[in-house]
Symmetry: C2
Subunit: 322 residues, 2 copies
């Protein structure tokens, strides 16, 4: 038996690969089989993370496993879907047992937190990269999409923005900070919490939604384009965490919040009448702007005057946006 066959057996025996609701057949046959409750649709998303592009080559395996699954699960949150299962295609230069154990542990922790069962995948030899496909279920016709924002809606986000982008120099060890500042920011980078419960709660209420992964302004552009509306973002209303402000100061923190991806907060549009109920249940929710007739994204200062948009979208760890 080859070392990669051993890896496949290792994952097949992992806790996250065991019996789970909705999984009729897991790892070990030509396909996995999933059950959907009557009246529900399947939500599917696929993401690839490449070493040196989406994460540092030398990063800790545990953190990588945790973060990779969170990034994918966040797409389910953005659709208001209930997590069901995932597949993992892992390409590795060699079979290092310590690395694998760490990676599988990180993966299992996030899988348990999200309610996702590992149902299949592939392990191959090659330069380090991961492709995850996640599956969720959502009542037919109730998925949150990017295309329903209407003039008069409020623009909201599910919590503080910019923390992950602010953490990047710490991740890359280009900068140091006191533990009380560094720890929460690194936590936001390495263990983003997909806002699954918020996404499900927003079904039938939010008119459009996505998870902030390309950077807030770029992602607002996606909603504006898909919905055929203009989105106005008020810079002074961006929710900024205390550690981010302490690390960078207000101006640089705002820049991280506007341009930084990797936060995996939900951004969504909501009729104003529905806001109070959500504010009560989700105290971290922040209104950051509004929807108007028109096109594109505008950034406003405290006086409501239009500001120039910063150039370019979010740069991932590597040099390119891709």
């Amino acid at each position: 038996m080859g070392e990669f066959e051993l890896i496949r057996r290792y994952f097949a025996a992992a806790p996250c690969a065991q019996a789970a609701e909705g999984v009729a057949l897991g790892i070990g046959d030509d396909c996995a089989l999933l059950d959907l409750p009557p009246g529900e649709q399947l939500a599917v998303s696929t993401d690839t993370l490449v070493a040196g592009v989406h994460f540092p080559d030398a990063c800790e395996a545990f953190l990588l496993g945790q973060r990779a699954l969170a990034v994918s699960a966040s797409d389910l949150a953005a659709m208001g879907a209930t997590p069901l299962a995932f597949t993992l295609a892992l390409t590795l230069p060699c079979a290092d047992e310590d690395w694998l154990r760490g990676f599988a542990d990180g993966l299992a922790l996030m899988a348990a937190a999200c309610g996702l069962a590992l149902v299949g995948g592939d392990t191959t030899r090659g330069p380090l990269s991961l492709t995850l496909s996640v599956f969720g279920r959502v009542p037919r016709g109730q998925a949150l999409t990017r295309s329903g924002a209407r003039p008069g809606d409020l623009l909201c986000v599910g919590g503080s923005l910019g923390d992950a982008a602010g953490a990047l120099p710490l991740v890359l060890r280009e900068r140091r900070a006191a533990a009380r500042i560094a720890r929460p920011l690194l936590e936001r980078y390495w263990a983003p919490q997909p806002q699954l419960a918020l996404g499900q709660a927003l079904r039938g209420s939010a008119t459009a939604a996505l998870d902030v992964s390309d950077g807030l302004l770029a992602d607002c552009g996606h909603i504006a384009r898909a919905s055929g509306v203009a989105l106005l973002v008020e810079r002074e209303r961006l929710p900024l965490s205390a550690p981010l402000l302490a690390l960078l100061g207000r101006e640089a923190a705002q820049a991280c919040a506007l341009g930084g991806g990797d936060d995996y907060r939900l951004a969504f549009t909501l009729p104003p009448s529905l806001l109070p109920a959500f504010q009560r249940d989700w105290p971290e929710l922040a209104v950051i702007g509004r929807v108007e007739a028109g096109a594109g994204v505008q950034l406003l200062d405290a006086q409501g005057l239009s500001l120039d948009l910063p150039a370019g979208g979010y740069q991932h760890f590597g040099a390119t946006h891709d």
Copy 2:
């Protein structure tokens, strides 16, 4: 807009990404949405192909696109599932327009042949590799698995074996042959035809099934283990194509049929009473052995005497089994 964003738009506009039955929402949002008819289950399979391991670095993009999707769709055939959709995670060192056009054309041809719609994925920069996830639907409880073979069943395959393995020296240009021999063999390697109709027809009849991808003997081992039975393979009953026999002679052709993967024929077990109906509708179907009580795989000669099993499973293009 980066070049990789352009690639994403290129795929989103491809014919295979357009409206299809069962696809409620395709490319362009955080998730795709799939509809399943009441009473059906979703079948999912994920495969990764890495350049230099699963296909030659320098291979034609059109052939790669075609073959990659066929390999994945074959897993749906093995479960008796009806194809629905797929996602493509493509990692590329650079955005070469000619390469992309060729690849997308090959992919689209196989997608149309299989009835698969492209519903999502990712394009990233890095060493060339592909991960495909395919989705199919199958009536609840009727999927073909590896675990139901019973003593007394016949062991069958859906057509000639060993052609793809026999073609490998031609693929690698280590060997030449007359066009009448080379052409059909190369066709079998580059454009395997997933036996989707046969798989669907076998639902409710075959007791176990898979697609031959690791090599016949290795794959028979999977059925034997999952079903808790012994599989007896009769060497003289292996169906060998005329071009393979012409290229290699009988003995080497048999070795290709026993050890070669990449044929993507279905192998399955069938109660003898059901054989005649299938033989009428599938003239290429061949009985190659039988199921007995016990464990493991035995290879028998023309006299029914047990032969030593060849060592090792199928070697893919590269040096390792993985």
